[in-house]
């Protein structure tokens, strides 16, 4: 009996809101912290690219040889030589500056394509899940067809008729990411719409739009945030792939995939030109993947270890 009394004494129980609890879990999650550090670093590079980069990313340099290997004073490069930490690219530009400016482009690419896909996919999924019936069937069959193509190849096909270029490549990647978000939002909407608080809202006479946007969507956000973070990683990889193939960003834009593509034939005589942009892509994608995994564990432990990643 005494133990029951102890439980009823609520003065010692600290209440933490679910949101605060999630943030606490996130900051105790090893990989999430690592992901946030990487992304924070990239964000600083992207915002202060102009101040950090030692040279202009597009302007050609004089008095340097093309594809010159890195010259680092600390590692014994002659002090009278100008320092180029990542070396010189095939058009005699400073590679480090180009990689730094590339972070801007990469983050923009990830955020813009995923926002586009969430916006369109979210609306499609919410309508399909909320309305149901033939409309649901129709919308989901269309999504099935889009998913019947490997996503990168569908993006390539879309670029083939839109024409090459960065904007078209982004549009293509955005389009192929739509089904993933549509399906996710649809399934959460379906599972949420029968819950008590939605029934309660309906019974006090709330209209359909209010139920959908005021009650259902806010409660479906958790898996969406996780999937969006992981989706940014995929989008950055796909965009780099399109640019690598020569179907995305055009020279002289400092895009990492393009930088790799332009110099892929110099891999044996100037490996630094291939190495550094690739590491930049890998770090960025790793950052988003780690943060996504962390968010999944922090926000929704039920999703742990599922195929959502």
């Amino acid at each position: 009996m005494t133990s029951n009394v102890a439980i009823l004494d609520v003065s010692n129980i600290k209440y933490t809101s679910p949101g605060r609890e999630a943030v606490r879990r996130l900051f105790h999650h090893r990989s999430a912290i690592l992901g946030m550090i990487i992304l924070g670093f990239l964000l600083i590079l992207a915002i202060f690219a102009k101040q950090i980069a030692p040279y202009d990313p597009i302007q050609l340099l004089r008095d340097v040889d093309r594809r010159e290997p890195p010259c680092i004073h600390l590692l014994g490069c002659a002090a009278d030589q100008p320092q180029h930490l990542f070396g010189i690219d095939g058009n005699s530009r400073d590679l480090l500056s180009r990689v730094i400016y590339g972070s801007r482009l990469s983050l923009q690419v990830g955020l813009s394509t995923v926002s586009f896909a969430i916006l369109i996919g979210g609306v499609i999924g919410a309508i399909a899940g909320f309305v149901g019936g033939w409309l649901d069937d129709l919308l989901m069959r269309i999504m099935d067809v889009l998913m019947a193509f490997p996503s990168l190849l569908l993006a390539i096909a879309i670029v083939s008729f839109l024409g090459t270029g960065l904007i078209n490549a982004l549009l293509a990647i955005g389009i192929v990411s739509i089904p993933r978000f549509a399906r996710l939002v649809r399934s959460t909407v379906i599972s949420v719409k029968e819950l008590e608080y939605v029934v309660a809202a309906r019974s006090i006479g709330a209209n359909q739009g209010r139920i959908l946007f005021g009650h259902i969507i806010p409660n479906s956000l958790t898996p969406l945030i996780v999937q969006a973070t992981l989706g940014i990683a995929t989008a950055i990889l796909d965009a780099a792939a399109l640019s690598f193939l020569g179907l995305g960003a055009e020279p002289p834009r400092p895009e990492w995939g393009l930088m790799l593509g332009e110099e892929r034939n110099s891999i044996f005589n100037a490996p630094h030109l291939v190495f550094f942009p690739g590491v930049a892509i890998m770090l960025t994608v790793l950052g988003f993947n780690l943060l996504g995994d962390g968010l999944r564990d922090a926000l929704d432990p039920r999703l742990r270890g599922t195929a959502a990643g």
């Binding site: 490997p150 190849l153 291939v274 942009p277 270890g305």
Partner: protein, 358 residues
């Protein structure tokens, strides 16, 4: 089981129509006049008229679509503008390379991935486990074309003059050639599917060398396939290893594993007979999901290793606006993707009786 397969096949019909519609639209959605887009500078009014007549672009869209389905069903993929040859011939030439690469990458990623996953799961938090999971996380984040280039650099340049040297590009060594099977068998008047099949076998370096018993060629073909397969397979490998690990850790705590142990079954059998059977279900799903990554990876990696496959042809055709080739190749990749997924679903049902009854 038969009923399950029948139902699964019926579900394919709307998807197949959708795929055909998407590939059909690729050519119709080109902004501007398709004739100008495809013929470029050669597009004079008379040539355009002739061109539209030849490709039936003057009929209404619905008629065009029905005719398109009819043509595809007969294996008529149109004619390449750049090469003035049937697209189906080009597919028969290029597809074997991509299929070989995809299959070998899949073999590599599943065997090594499942193996690493088991080791990590049986000794959680050991050095091997931590290392595997770190490599898995990094592996998922690597661009496949970059990994390919790095592998090429390491095994072809750094390892040069050592036994670990592996050729970084090309399908076969310079002095190695494939036998033309059609000529060898005296088949000159081939048409339709048999022509496609003979061309396909003839152009598959592996099938060709096995059929003709040319073991030196086979060895050379496999040798050239190592680096691309490792590059393409690494990302799926990482994902498969993570999935195997997390599922096996969970399964090892189940009651039936404890029961098996209590019966005195030795640990090796507990894992291989009792646990792994249940681990395979989610792992096979992941393998199915990863086929898309494998096919896309193959397309990207071909460019890196200068392999004569679907990917290199597709990119060249987009850049030179050879739309019939783009259309045919997109369609064939989608068909392969759908068929692999079908195969995965069927094996899923085979492993898990609950799926069949659903």
């Amino acid at each position: 089981m038969l009923r399950f397969m029948a139902r699964r096949l019926v579900l394919l019909i709307p998807v197949a129509i959708g795929i055909l519609l998407v590939t059909f639209l690729i050519v119709r959605l080109i902004p501007g006049d398709p004739c100008v887009a495809m013929l470029g500078e050669r597009a004079t009014p008379t040539k355009c008229e002739e061109f539209k007549e030849r490709y039936g672009l003057n009929d209404n869209v619905f008629v065009q679509f029905v005719r398109y389905i009819g043509n595809m069903a007969q294996g008529d993929f149109g004619e390449s503008i750049r090469f003035s040859r049937p697209v189906s011939d080009i597919i028969a030439e290029r597809l074997p390379m991509t299929i070989e690469l995809t299959l070998f990458a899949m073999l590599f990623s599943t065997t090594v991935g499942i193996f690493l996953g088991i080791i990590s799961a049986l000794k959680p938090n050991s050095f091997t486990d931590t290392l595997t999971m770190v490599v898995a996380n990094v592996g998922v984040s690597m661009p496949v074309f970059w990994l390919g280039l790095m592998l090429a650099y390491f095994f072809a340049l750094v390892m040069k003059d050592t036994p670990l040297f592996i050729p970084p590009s090309g399908r076969l060594g310079a002095s190695v050639t494939l036998v033309n099977l059609a000529k060898q068998w005296g088949l000159t008047e081939l048409t339709g599917i048999s022509k496609f099949a003979v061309y396909f076998l003839s152009n598959s370096a592996i099938a060709n060398s096995i059929i003709t018993g040319n073991w030196a060629t086979l060895k050379d073909a496999l040798w050239h396939l190592i680096l691309p397969s490792v590059a393409v397979g690494t990302i799926p490998l990482a994902i498969i290893a993570r999935m195997t690990r997390s599922t096996l850790v969970e399964v090892m705590q189940q009651d039936y594993v404890r029961t098996a142990r209590a019966k005195g079954v030795n640990e090796r059998k507990v894992v291989s007979r009792h646990a792994m059977r249940n681990v395979m279900i989610p792992v096979i799903t992941i393998i199915g999901i990863e086929t898309g990554a494998l096919l896309s990876g193959a397309v990207l990696t071909e460019t890196v290793f200068a392999l004569p496959g679907v990917g290199t042809m597709l990119v060249q055709s987009i850049l030179s606006r050879d739309y019939p080739v783009v259309q045919g190749f997109t369609l064939i990749i989608a068909i392969i993707f759908v068929l692999i997924n079908l195969f995965v679903d069927v094996s899923y049902a085979y492993l898990d009786p609950r799926v069949r009854l659903e």
